[in-house]
Every structure is written in structure tokens, then in C-alpha cells.
């Protein structure tokens, strides 16, 4: 295994581990406030679980399409690679779009970040996740452009792809936890 690839692999493993702890802290805050205020009730009153679940499916399936892209990269199928990358970006963007409209709905119901502790914790946690998804979209777009420009014809693309791919899986897995804790747990 080439040393650069090995280093990138380690870099992403450690970076993801470190970044996970950031989300763990935000999640702890969210769960902790349940003891003091009505965050759980507010969650069931204001959040549209079904709608978010549908948008979540877009994000989850983008993890599948990026795996197709990985397969295409390994087998040197350029068209399939570009197609699956575009599909991944579109799926991710749909999720972000869903989140933006969700925020707008909540705003119309007068749920804002400074209104109560539910708003504070909810918007901070989901907002930081959305921000990470957005960064992932930028990374994937850069990778797509580099592929379209044939930059990777002379250079080995595997490290760059690995970094983008793992990062994307990471934001996906974070959303599994966030969705479960914020949207589903109050219903249980």
C-alpha cells in the first residue's frame, strides 16, 4: 500500500474520531436539557417526523451512490463515476434543501434559536450537522470538477476519493444518531 494512501486513511480515521466527539458533546447537551425543560414535548409538538424521515432517506441513499462511485473508480469506469458523483451531490443537496424548508416552517411557527432551550439545542445540533453536509457537498463538487477536468489522469485519485468518501459516510452516520435522538426518541 502506498504511503500517501496509508497516511490519508489514518488522517481520516483520526479526524473522524475527533470530529465525532464534537457531535457527541452537542448531543449530550441536547439530551441533558431534557431533565430541566420541555425539550421532549416541544420535539413532538413542532417536528414533522415523517417529512424529515423522507428527506433522511435521500441522505442515506447517497451513501449507497458514493459506494457505486467507489466501485466505478476502482474499475476505471469514468462515465459511471461522474454519474454516481452527480447523483450523490444531488441527493445530499436535496437533504440540505429539506432542512432549510424545515427551518422555515419552524420559523413560521415561531420556533427560533433564541425562543427557548429546545430551539437553542435543536438548531445548534441539526445546524452543525447540516453545515457538515454542506461542506461534504463542496468537497464532492471539487472532486467532481477535478475528475471532469481530467486532473486525475496523471495522478492517483485514490487518496482524495477516500477522504471525500469517508467524510461523506461520516456525516451520514452522524445523521442516523441525530435523527434517532432528536426525532424518534421523544416518540418512544
Amino acid at each position: 500500500m502506498k504511503i500517501v494512501f496509508r497516511q490519508t486513511k489514518l488522517l481520516m480515521q483520526l479526524f473522524i474520531a475527533s470530529e465525532s466527539l464534537f457531535f457527541v458533546a452537542l448531543i449530550i447537551a441536547y439530551v441533558y436539557f431534557r431533565n430541566f425543560s420541555d425539550t421532549w414535548e416541544a420535539s413532538t409538538n413542532y417536528l414533522n417526523v415523517k417529512r424529515t424521515a423522507i428527506f433522511s432517506i435521500f441522505l442515506f441513499s447517497s451513501s449507497g451512490t458514493i459506494t457505486i462511485a467507489k466501485y466505478a473508480l476502482e474499475k476505471n469506469k469514468r462515465k459511471l463515476l461522474i454519474f454516481s458523483l452527480i447523483l450523490t451531490i444531488l441527493l445530499g443537496a436535496t437533504f440540505v434543501f429539506g432542512q432549510v424548508t424545515e427551518y422555515m416552517d419552524l420559523y413560521n411557527q415561531e420556533v427560533t434559536i433564541n425562543q427557548n432551550i429546545f430551539g437553542s439545542a435543536f438548531f445548534t445540533l441539526t445546524g452543525f450537522h447540516g453545515f457538515h453536509v454542506f461542506l461534504g457537498l463542496i468537497i464532492l463538487t471539487i472532486y467532481l470538477i477535478l475528475t471532469l477536468l481530467d486532473v486525475f489522469r496523471q495522478r492517483d485519485p485514490s487518496s482524495a476519493f477516500l477522504a471525500a468518501e469517508w467524510y461523506w459516510h461520516f456525516v451520514d452516520v452522524v445523521w442516523v444518531f441525530v435523527f434517532f435522538i432528536v426525532y424518534l426518541m421523544p416518540l418512544l
Binding site: L10, S18, I113, I117, S120, R155
Partner: protein, 550 residues
Amino acid sequence: MKLFSFEVPEPTEALPSIKSRYGILQWISSTDHKQLGILYLWVSLFFFLIGGFEAMLMRLQLAWPGLQIVSPQTFNELFTMHGTTMVFLVLMPTLIGLATYFLPLMIGANEMAFPRLNAMSLWMTLFGGLLLNFSFLAGGAPDAGWFSYAPLSEKNYSFSSGLDYYSIGLIVTGIGSIGAGLNFVITTLTMRIKGMRLRKVPLFVWMVFINSFLILAAFPLLNAGLVMLLIDRQLGSHFFLPNTGGSALLWQHFFWAFGHPEVYILALPGFGIISEVIPVFSRKNIFGYTTLAATTVFIALLSFGVWAHHMFVAGLGNPINTFFAAGSMLIGIPTGIKIVNWMATMWKGNIYFSTSMLFAVAFILDFTLGGLSGIAVAIVPLDWRVTDTYFVVAHIHYVFLGGTLFTIFAGIYYWFPKISGRMLNERLGKWHFWLFLLGFNMTFFLQHLLGFMGMPRRVFSYPDLPYYGILNLISSIGAVFMLIAVVIFIYNIFKSLRSGELAGNNPWNAWTLEWYTTSPPQLKNFETLPEVTSLRPVIDWEKQKVAQKS
């Protein structure tokens, strides 16, 4: 070295030697680990002067009861900025800088694993620090103590934008530190020279390696807390505001879950420096390499289970207090074992008291005192008695000055010849050492007593109670001694850079790999290296050469 398959820009000119002239652009664009290491050290020195100036102002204000040299508000800003600056912008960058310079050299590599990430870490640290200090010009520095307890740090109690700068500045430097941590781990794992197994790296490398995991695990917690504080202050959320459903205690948990590992983040690389300096100046192998390495891991693991000992007065309840008291005492065991290891290394050694070694020995003594007062405040009832008094101030300074700063001085006197090619003046060094040692113990030992007498910290003035005036005066005079010592130290640096004695490759007859190359090393640290077979490769190779000649 390739990163993401693109060529890494490497400086093409020769490395800083004192005689050649350098374009400032070349320094700014540099990705060379040696230049970045030097930049880290200059950045730390710059902030050290700022933090030291703040400390001197405080000691001046406290020199006698009832003085009015600075206002209470200014005093709040001074102790907040002094603590924050010294922890985040002086001690950490110095240790990271020394590691950036020497970790690749010590493992026989020519560069860090990610040179551009390395440069980013440096500049994030610098700009975070500048942001933090910019608050002085932007209406007032942060004033809620270096740990910024909520709700005191919230908008309704701290009106100026100081704490916003605090949050943003620390997030920026924190991201830089995480980058450095990633780089150290991966460099150590992937770029060691042939024959240097991970279990046989120099102890400095090992401790920086373990330390990097602490950085990676601790800083995200601080960043999360800071982000919430910033959103509280800027967007009006309620995280740490108890009256609107938030929890002030949560901030304490986040801060100290970061803050206590941070103490070890500042201590472990220092332990590493000591583990290099003491064997070289005792002309002996390190005693108990494996024990030193293993206890480092124990300390790292335990450091995440002790944070609530900062919160014994927060009312968490006896079971929690007992758990964290026990954890805090447990962590004294691996640290104590290390002390024994260093002393056993010196035992019957052929000790040469260079300034570096003097600082190492003083470290053992003063750090042990700091450790003992640490064990003392881990006892819950005693902590209730002395919390928020000068006893705690004395304890933290024995750990950070008598501990970390002494190791940094030891490291700088030890490695300066390699960095610059010239020796630091030993005579000035001895003056620096003795004045600093005297001043340090004068300033802070008496503060233990002041703490027991009940003098609260962080109060800008105090009444003329029995002994308060004289003890504080002695403490302030000690601070002046330290100031003189630091002036000598800085003079020594500039003087030695210009006209110091030439060092040669290996002035101390040391045996780790950095001494095998020229002083200062060329852009490429090593062309080729023989195989490393033991902990003392340079001595092995010299013996082989002699054997070949005869």
C-alpha cells in the same frame, strides 16, 4: 513527499542559518517543519512577553494592601488574559513547536506527514492568538477567568465583546492544535526510519505521540462548549442560562472535560523533554523505558476521568465527588513512577550540570511539590476549604511553571545548538536559572500559605490583615526576580544567535537521531541513515566507525 498527489511546495533556499538573509515571504509560505517549528517558538515568545507583562501588572497591583494601580475591571481582564494566553498561546505552541521541529528529526524523517497541514496549524494558532488579543482594542478583553464560567461569561453579565473574541480565538487555535495532533500521530506511525520500532522510539516522540491523542479527544469538547457560548452570546440562545431552561453546570462539565486533559497535554511533552535531557547529562540509559512509556498511556487514559475534581464545590453530590477524588489520586501513581524513573536515571550517573540539566532537576523538585498540592486538593473536604483561594493559584503555577515551563527551558537550552548552530551562553544561562528558580519559589510558595489564610484569588485588592501585606510583597518581589531572569534569557537568545560559540553536530554527545545531522540541519534532514538497532543509535554508529578503522 506527495500529498493528494500534488507536489508539496517545499522551500528551495537553504534553512535559516544565522548568517544568511531570508525573505519574509519565504518564511510565510514555508512548509518545512524546521522553519515552522522556529516560527512556533517565536510566536510563543511573543505571547509570553504579553502574558508576562499582564502577570507583572497583577503582581504590582497586589504588592501592598489597598493599592489602586489598575481598576477592578482591568484586573479581571488581566488575570483572564494572563491565564488564557499562557495556557493556549505560550505553553502549547512552545511544546508543539519543539515537537514540530524535533519529532521528524528524532524518527529519521525528512518532513512531517502533511507539511501543508503543519503550516495551517501554525497560522491558525497565531491568528487565533491575535484575535484573542485584539479584544483589548475592541472594547475590552474577556473578563470571566480563563475558564469563563457561565453565567458570568454570558451577555447579561459580561457586556463587552471580550468573551466573543475569547470563543472565536480559542476555536481557531483549537483547530490548529487538532491539525498538529493529527500530523504528529501520522508522522510517528508512518515515517519512522528502518529499524525504529514504535516501541523503541525516543521517549519525547512517544510522549508527543500519546499526547496527540489527548489533543484529538479533548479539543472537540472545548470547541463544542465555545460554540454554544458564542451562540448564547451572539444569537441569544439559552444553553448556559439557568433562568431560561439552560444549565450553567453544563459549561463547567464541558470545559473541564477538556480542561483536565489539557493539563496533561501541557505536561506530557514536557515529561518527554525531561526523559531526553536527564539521560544525556547523566551519561546513562534512561531507567525503565517501558515503565515510562506505559505510565504515559495510563496518565492519558486516566486524565479523562478526573475532570469533576475542579467542580467539588458545584454540589454534584458525594458519590460523584468520591469517584473523581479517587480518580485524581490514582493519577498520582503513574506520575510518581515517572519521578522515580528520572531519579533512578540520575542515580550513580556521571552528572553534568549544564543549564538544561539544572532546569531538569529543578523540574523534578518543583513539579513534585505541585503534584503533592494537587493530591492535597483532590481530598474533597480540603478542596472545599481552599478552593478559589491562592492555594489553587500556587498549585497551578507549580504545575505549569515548575512543571511545564522548566521542561521548556531545559528543552530550549538542550536543543538551541541544533536549531541555531550556536550554543546558548552557559554563564547567562546559570544566572537565568538561579534567578528564575528563586523568584518562582518566592512568588508561589508563599501563596500556599495565603490560600490557607483564606485570601481569595481573582480579587483586585485586599485589606491589611496580619501577614497579608508582607507575604504579598515578597511574592511580588519574587515576580521581579523572574522578570529579570526572563530578560537575561531573551538577551541570551539574541546574543547567542549572533555570536554564540559554534555548536558542531553533537555538542552534548547525545545519542538520538537529531544529533546525527548538521546544526542547523539542511533542508533535507538526512540523506541516508544506517539502520537503527537500539535506543542510542548515534553512539552505536560511532562505535561501529571506530571498530571499522581499527
